[in-house]
């Protein structure tokens, strides 16, 4: 909920007298490494993709190397099993497998003698009616910048969850954009994709904006929601915790079957 973010901004503003930031040293006890499995299947070609990596110590720099040697399959309720091949280190794909809305999919990963599984049902596709940009009307950032808006018509007869992924000139925006239809069931919705007011990510005239709209299931929504609220390092979260995951077997990550649609515009 955006309320809290606004109040946090105000809170910091309230204390404009200092609100001093300082990088500090914290001694963190290292933990055993865990596998991180990110799996997805979409209604698009090349949508079946599984990325396997590992946790690393906080102090370590840089890369999160992929984990090779896993046996990865996606199966559906009709009993078809599709093996995914490792195309790069830690990346497993099947470029022909296209998912169908309404179908239930199961991810199965065998790695170093352990098994990890997850199930996800691909929701029906909700069409993206429009993608457009509008000047950021709020004065939070006090700058001229644009926000992308996605228009869609929420079906009144279903519980829907959405995730939007925004790219500016090919660079992915880090903000997690998710929505449910708690308060918008059955409505024509215009969803602004509000991103934080950092100088270097402002959308300006001439930028090419790409937005993918994903119709996700509840488990995926829960995952992204709890990741955003508790696992991205935000100091205001009372009890940071690992996100709620549909993955069984002790790995971090998620498996999401979603209907996807992508559009692109250039900011006038």
């Amino acid at each position: 909920m955006s309320t809290l973010k606004y109040s946090a901004t105000l809170l910091l503003f309230t204390s404009f007298l200092c609100s001093c930031e300082k990088v500090i040293d914290v001694e963190l006890d290292p933990a055993d490494q865990r596998y991180v499995i990110e799996g997805q299947i979409t209604n698009q070609k090349k949508g079946a993709l599984v990325v396997i990596s590992q946790t690393t110590d906080f102090e370590n720099t840089g890369v999160y190397p992929g984990v090779s040697g896993a046996i990865v399959t996606i199966s559906n309720t009709q009993g078809n099993v599709y093996p995914l091949m490792e195309t790069q280190q830690g990346i497993y794909q099947d470029s022909l497998l296209v998912g169908k809305p309404g179908m239930s999919y199961r991810l199965h990963v065998t790695l170093n003698g352990s098994e990890y599984t997850a199930t996800s049902i691909m929701p029906d596709r909700v069409k993206m009616d429009s993608l457009f940009v509008k000047k950021d009307g709020s004065n939070i950032s006090n700058r001229e910048r644009y926000l992308a808006h996605v228009g869609y018509t929420d079906p009144g007869n279903a519980v829907n969850f959405y995730r939007f992924v925004q790219f500016k000139n090919g660079v992915k925006e880090k903000t997690i954009f998710i929505r449910n239809d708690d308060r918008t069931n059955g409505n024509k919705v215009t969803a602004p994709l509000r991103y934080p007011a950092d100088d270097d990510n402002d959308i300006l005239t001439g930028d090419k904006i790409t937005v993918e709209m994903q119709c996700i299931d509840q488990a995926a929504y829960q995952y992204w929601y709890s990741l955003d609220r508790g696992a991205l390092g935000d100091g205001g979260a009372a009890s940071p915790a690992n996100p709620v995951s549909n993955m069984q077997g002790g790995a971090l990550g998620y498996f999401s079957a979603h209907a996807s649609e992508t559009r692109e515009i250039t900011v006038p």
Partner: protein, 774 residues
């Protein structure tokens, strides 16, 4: 009910039994008042020179009753800050004796405090701290805004929730486990400006007592403490205007007689004006940021035996940014009280209390504009009797009925919007209690107070109630009609305490208390937030229960100049609430219990205070060593973990020095172990961005907190009736950057690295304010 009547009878018989054994007695009763203003005085001691073991203390309305065998006595009336008054009487039959005590300090801000007999050593109550208004006004505080709640946090066992927060932790309890009463009305959110100030305007406050343990039976409803705040009644002799202008706020207080010596009024108001400065700046001109509050009180003497008080509080905060975002919140309370003296031995008070807390969030995001409104509202009736059967017993008994209405959230679209109007179900509950207690002077040294509170909490319709599995799934929904009881919890809360005098100078005390809490605050942020949610017990959410034993030793030193007190406590807590990982407590969802987990808690510690009570230099050192843990299934692998408010060491040093008639200097220094906090054990990548991996809940500590504040008050020369002063303060004098929060993020300077970043709120904050009184 029948059990309660029986119990009351037993109690009364026991008390009466005590009196049967004695000879015929006569009763002296009356009211103790301030000679200058006519304000009744709470907690004044009435002692008998000839019978050192006999005595009483005035109640919260200044009333006392003392029964003695006929004879000649010298009665001594005393209270901190007032000159002692001795009165020779020849007691033959019952008599009424109203007393007026003169203020020692007739000036605006006198601070020389003399030792008084009514101290921790001789009082029979344990676990209680009383704050004196003089102390409140001299201790330096943030922005020079005198704040009783901030001063309270300098006492042992009471811990500040952090920089700028007016929430506080008592003996390991959470911030919602404090019952905060303003003229008997519960205040649900005692903070202004997200906790930087409290809702209590020092000018309007007469008396403030906090109970950390051994709570008397007339109080109930929260686990950890009771903070009982009484407002001034208003001067019934003369008109008085006082006020102050500070850097960020101004205040005004007007009081005076309506009819001299019979009735009076008080009106106290304050408002911050930081928003005026904001409007002047081009960058922040659309920001709104202010609060105001009003305290008002009327009181009438209706003849010899009756007195009527009407008091109210109203406060509002408003912050926002143009039309993008707005948040308003506030408390409103109203209390009507009627004191009736049936006879010299029986005092009655009837209170009708209203209490309301609400907030409204206005959001405009893209084309969507909507308001979210939430509210908790109480109607409350309290009838209490105080019976003074003889000089050995004081009996209190009564009944309390509260009706709660909680509006968890109403969403109203405003303007054009794709948001639907929606409303979470309103929740209704009855919270009824019967209580009785007797304070029994067993011998000249031993005093026993025993009592019982019976608490019945009923969640009632209209509404849907859910059957929820341990995994948080709703498997059944039952609808209850209006007024139909869905679930009732009956709890007995025994209250026991004993005090034993070890000679003139020392005493030991022990107590056991059980408390029950049926309203719970759910918060998912580290800072206290006005939008934190109050929820009531229901079929899934059980009452929180705490059992506390405590033991104390008190001693006066160096001819009563110093007072040493130490208490140890052990407390267990049942049905503690936390939310599930990834819980969305702000979702548009009625069954909030699906997002919650339940478990238990324990807290123990020892508290020390050495207080210098008289002389030019006064103040105290307090130290608390404590531990607070929780164990909740589903969190931290079901193992015990440190509660957020767990702090090992907590130190406060307060000094007030009267330099001369013109200058008073003050300083306080606090130090405490950082709060328990969860840090990551590692990191990984999700969809191209860094996420953190967690293993242990609250396994780490924030950096230690320490801070020095300095203050000075300069009295300006008096002009006729005008008294004025300038108060200077320097908050955080040595500029310690205390950690407000710690964030983990990708380094901007070194790609691929992650770093921990701490945010501090305050460095030095100097302030100056001007106060006057005429």
């Amino acid at each position: 009910m029948i059990r309660f009547i029986k119990l009351t009878l037993c109690l009364l018989l026991l008390a009466a039994g005590g009196s049967l054994a004695q000879q015929k007695q006569a009763t002296i009763a009356g009211t103790v008042k301030d000679a200058a203003t006519g304000e009744t005085l709470i907690g004044a001691t009435v002692s008998v020179k000839q019978l050192p073991a006999t005595g009483t203390v005035t109640n919260e309305y200044g009333f006392y009753s003392l029964s003695l065998p006929p004879g000649a006595y010298t009665l001594i009336y005393s209270l901190v800050g007032f000159s002692e008054k001795a009165l020779e009487i020849l007691l033959v039959s019952d008599q009424k004796l109203d007393i007026a005590l003169s203020d020692q300090a007739t000036t605006l801000n006198e601070v020389v405090i003399t030792a008084n007999k009514n101290d921790k050593v001789s009082s029979t109550q344990m676990g209680a701290e009383k704050l004196n208004i003089t102390e409140i006004s001299t201790v330096p505080v943030l922005f020079g805004e005198r704040d009783p709640l901030k001063v309270l946090q300098l006492l042992p066992g009471i811990k500040s929730s952090g920089d700028g927060g007016s929430g506080f932790y008592v003996r390991g309890g959470a911030t919602d486990q404090n019952l905060i009463l303003l003229d008997e009305a519960p205040v649900y959110n005692a903070s202004h400006l997200l906790g930087f100030f409290s809702t209590f305007n020092a000018d309007a406050i007469k008396d403030m007592t906090v109970y950390k343990g051994g709570m008397p039976a007339q109080y109930g409803g929260r686990l950890s403490s009771v903070l009982d705040i009484k407002m001034n009644e208003g001067n019934n002799r003369d008109y008085e205007v006082s006020g102050g202008i500070g850097l960020i706020s101004a205040k005004l207080n007007v009081e005076g007689p309506i009819q001299k010596d019979k009735s009076s009024f008080l009106l106290s108001a304050r408002r911050t004006y930081a928003d005026v400065f904001l409007r002047a700046s081009s960058e922040y001109r659309d920001y709104r940021l202010y609060f105001y509050d009003l305290n008002a009180k009327l009181n009438f003497s209706l003849g010899e035996k009756d007195r009527l008080y009407v008091s109210g509080y109203f406060g509002k905060d408003d912050m926002g940014m143009g039309e993008t975002f707005g948040l308003q919140w506030g408390n409103a309370t109203a209390t009507v009280r009627w004191n009736h003296i049936f006879n010299r031995k029986l005092f009655s008070n009837t209170s009708l209390i209203f209490s309301n807390y609400d907030y409204n969030v206005a959001i405009q995001n893209g084309g969507n504009q909507f308001d979210i409104f939430s509210q908790i509202r109480d109607y409350n009736l309290k009838q209490e009797f105080q019976w003074f059967p003889n000089n050995k017993n004081t009996v209190r008994f009564g009944v309390n009925a509260i009706h709660h209405t909680i509006t968890p959230g109403e969403v109203t679209p405003t303007g054009s919007s794709s948001i639907n109007a929606s409303e979470l179900q309103k929740r209704f509950a009855w919270e009824n209690a019967l209580f009785a207690s007797n304070s029994w002077q067993v011998s000249s040294r031993l005093n026993l107070t025993y009592g019982l509170r019976i608490n019945a909490f009923s969640a009632v319709g209209e509404g849907d109630f859910y059957t929820v599995t341990s995994a948080g799934m709703v498997i059944d929904t039952l609808h209850y009609d209006k007024g139909q009881v869905a679930k009732t919890y009956l709890n007995l809360e025994p209250r026991l305490s004993a005090s034993y005098q070890l000679g003139e100078l020392a005493s030991v005390k022990a107590s056991y208390v059980r408390n029950v809490q049926n309203l719970h605050l759910i918060s998912n942020s580290t800072a206290s937030n006005p939008t934190d949610k109050w929820i009531a017990s229901n079929n899934n959410i059980k009452p929180e229960i705490s059992d506390q034993v405590s033991l104390g030793y008190y001693r006066n030193l160096v001819e009563n100049q110093y007072e040493l007190s130490t208490e140890i406590y052990y407390k267990t807590m049942q049905n503690q609430i936390d939310y599930r990982n990834g819980a969305n407590i702000f979702s548009n969802f009625d069954a909030i219990e699906t997002q919650l987990l339940f478990g238990k808690g324990r807290a123990y510690g020892s508290e020390w205070q050495l207080k210098k009570k008289s002389g030019k230099l006064t103040g105290w050192i307090s130290y608390t060593l404590s531990k607070t843990e929780r164990k909740i299934d589903g969190i931290n692998s079901n193992l015990w973990y440190n509660a957020r408010q767990d702090r090992t060491h907590d130190v406060a040093l307060v000094g007030i020095y009267q330099l001369n008639n013109k200058w008073t200097l003050s300083a306080n220094w606090v130090y405490y172990t950082g709060n328990a906090i969860t840090f990551p054990a590692g990191k990984y990548q999700v969809d191209g961005q860094t996420a953190y991996y967690y293993t242990k809940r609250n396994g780490y500590r924030m950096p230690d907190y320490h801070r020095l504040d300095l203050g000075a008050t300069m009295k300006l020369s008096d002009r006729k009736n005008l008294k004025q002063e300038l108060a200077f303060s320097l908050y955080n004098a040595y500029g310690r950057e205390n950690t407000y929060m710690i964030e983990f993020r990708d380094s901007e300077s070194i790609p691929g690295r992650t770093e921990a970043v701490q945010t501090a709120l305050f460095k030095f904050i100097p302030s100056i304010s001007y106060n006057f009184k005429f």
